[in-house]
Amino acid sequence: MALWAEITISLLLVIAGFFGFVGSFGLIRLKDAMSRLHAPTKATTLGVGSVLIASMLYFVTAQGQISAHELMISLFLFLTAPIVAHFIAKVHVHLHERPKSLPEPSVGTDWASFAAKTPARGVRRATPDTPAD
């Protein structure tokens, strides 16, 4: 294997390890729940993305076979990461926020979590940490 390929792959692996660790470290370190959501969803996508690029480079340079699977995995992760983050944020808003604790969207309307026409049967307010309005 050429030296430049080896250096690039090693660099990508180190970057990936660093970001993967920082993402999970942020999950432990940050104090409030919404901030914790930022750390893994961002840092991990770059971490896994670097691992996948490194793997693709490795298989091309070491064995001469081009594989599309890494591309598919990273595409899938990049498409699903915002959806997962949005869902978890909605769970947090649903369980722990009231209309008074959030900024208003505009006069006369409310956020979709609070304005649902059919009452949700989901878990309501597991931990009463904010006063009910």
């Binding site: 660093f18 970001f19 920082v22 470290f25 942020g26 370190r29 940050l30 104090k31 409030d32 919404m34 901030s35 959501l37 930022h38 750390a39 969803t41 961002k42 840092a43 996508t45 770059l46 594989s67 599309a68 699977h69 591309l71 598919m72 990049f78 990461a81 915002p82 959806i83 983050a85 949005h86 944020a89 909605k90 947090h92 808003v93 959030l102 900024p103 208003e104 969207p105 505009s106 309307t109 409310d110 956020w111 979709a112 979590s113 304005a115």
Partner: protein, 165 residues
Amino acid sequence: MTLFHRIFPHPLLSVVLAVVWVLLVNTLTLNAVVFGAILGLVVPWLTRAYWPDAPRLRNPLMIAEYLLVVLWDIVVANVQVAVIILFKSDAARRPCWITVPLELRTPEAITVLAGTITMTPGTVSSDLSADGHAILVHCLHAPDPDAVRDQIKSRYERRLMEIFE
């Protein structure tokens, strides 16, 4: 409605399905291509009831520019978030909620904008207002919330307006 549209209700979806199938099989052989084509024919036809109408792209060439901008911002976002996590104490950090009023009206465009906000520097989109005219964004560290809102509007929403509307 022409015969072509009757057979292919969503041509782009058919092409994407076929290409994804060939990439999943990971070999470019004739039977993979044929089966991908069958999937591209059958799946849009079976699910056509759930795709009410296709969004019209006004300016498809802008998509490439938008993707490049977003990819660059994802890399920057990761570095910024990593620095905040590692070196900023919780007392110095200013997390906040901001409301971004939307001028976009196409559901697909709003979906793309929400995804983009989640992937870029220190912001997560959390909720949509009941009438769909504003989006709730949480910032990891925003000393100046108005600047974040203006950046979202000028950097992403303006480009999406040009693509979709």
